[in-house]
């Protein structure tokens, strides 16, 4: 018993609280931010230039951004990027219901 007490390294009176890492520091992994931006650019290109493949790429980019996002990040931005890409796809098909043609055809 006494040896256990001597070997007890726990100090309940010396507890320090966890300080979460500063999320504004870019260092770690910029993938979600880049993908978010890329997704928005593709969406705008798809909407304005009526390019279906742009709109599809935007959907993929927003998916990738969502998959790589950090928990501390705002979900609203990811969601809005996703909605924008979906609207780009829908608008390009409403304006031109024809299917996409691959570049080799």
């Amino acid at each position: 018993m006494s040896t256990a007490a001597i070997n007890d390294v726990k100090r309940p009176n010396k507890i320090h609280r966890y300080k979460p890492k500063d999320s504004s520091a870019p260092g770690d992994d910029p993938t979600p931010d880049y993908m978010n931006l890329l997704g928005m650019i593709f969406s705008m290109c798809g909407l304005m230039m009526k390019l279906k493949w742009c709109a599809w790429c935007a959907v993929y980019c927003s998916f990738i951004s969502f998959a790589n996002s950090r928990a501390s990040e705002d979900t609203k931005q990811t969601l809005s990027s996703f909605m924008l890409s979906i609207s780009a796809v829908v608008m390009s098909y409403l304006q031109n219901p024809q299917p996409m043609t691959p570049p080799w055809q």
């Binding site: 390294v9 010396k14 966890y18 959907v59 998916f63 990738i64 998959a67 950090r70 928990a71 299917p99």
Partner: protein
Amino acid sequence: MKLTLALSLVLLVFLCQNVGGKKSHKPADLDDNEFAEFEDFDDEGVLSSAEQEATVEEEADFPSESDDIVKTQAKKDDDNEEEEDEGVVENDDDEFEHFTDEDEFEGFDKESRPGKGKSHEVPDLKIAKVPIHLRTNWDSFYLEMLMLAGLGVYFLNFLAGKTKNGKLAQAWMSSHRSILEENFAIIGDDGLSKEAKGTGVFNKESENVYTLWCSGRTCVEGMLVELRLLKRQDLINVMTTIMKPASDQIIVKVTMDASSMDKFCFCIGQKKVMAKLLKEQPDLGQFTEKKAVENYNLPESFQLQSEIGEATSIVLDKKVCAYLEKYEQQIEYIHISDQYSGAKSQYDENQSKMPDVRPSLVFCFNVPGKGKTKTSDVDGMLPLMKLVFYCVDKVGRLALSKEKRLKAEKNRAKAAEGYLKAAHSQLQEAAQLRREEKRRLAKEKIMNEEDPEKARKWEERESKRDMKKKQAKTKMMKVKGM
């Protein structure tokens, strides 16, 4: 005479009538000529055929309707007209014979004319190609199907990867819980709750990064365990890992109490990682030197950076060396330093300010399996956690000799001086820039000043000031020379 006069009058009247009649009769004549072909028919029949023509001209798209009109009108008439109805059909050819005259029209091919009444009433329409409609042909949307399938696959992989990573974290927690509970008062703290209650679970930073903060131990301020798993939730990353295998990593960062650790800097790790660490960690670059691993009978794959040899030999005792040999692949690096500040930011090239340092021990372990990790592999990391606590206790008890301590303090003082000088030179540069800016503004002001008197006075003042400065400098030179 009277007779002749009367006769001539009658002739004149007759002539006048004839002329007037001709004019009035012209359209009639024309009409008559137009419908000369229909002379044999009744008036109504003539009308019906005329209407027919009109309908053909006006409503070329609806031949059936014109036919209907013709038919209904024909029904109203007598038997003659019934005959005419058929006759109309038959006589249609005659009616429009002049349209089928090859001499009349260019490029008209009599033979290609459609057979019966209906079709040749309708002008030859070129029907445009109808674009592929959604309802009719799904096969043409194969690219879209492919895209959707890709998205589906990505989403399924996301779910699978997320679940796998969660399971690995859970497995680590269950196997290490006992050793953590033996060493720390609280396990798991998110830093947000009012009271310091141990949650006992990881904080999920992202789908592949899990952190755990433990605190309440002798010599130790706290320990942060970071599970940096592979991005199994991202399909692109999964494919990259297939081509270039990588491992899940566990990074254990123990922050010591300020007074618990002696002053020294030490790092041992895999050669390929050490180069990167030397660049990123300012304390390693400033205080340590490369030392030979052969002195400690360690594997060749390791590289050793040490500041104080005495400290290195105390840390690298038999037990630690045995661990390093046994778990050669799993130990990425061990970094022990009282000047630990974390990786320096790439953007902050300015090293004028001394970074915020804490005495720390950082251990980076690779989970075996090279990506294809199983939960049993994570359980196998337990001995390495025991190594962590062993090193922590050792470093806490470590006491350098006076000589080495002085050497260490001297090194730190030198580093601090270097920072101060850099800061001072920066301040000087800034002051110089400010002064020049001030002068430039004053000059501009004077240049814009219209009053020549004022400008002259300012210039005189400036020249006097310059003269004084020069004199002061020369005076100083003279004193120094003496």
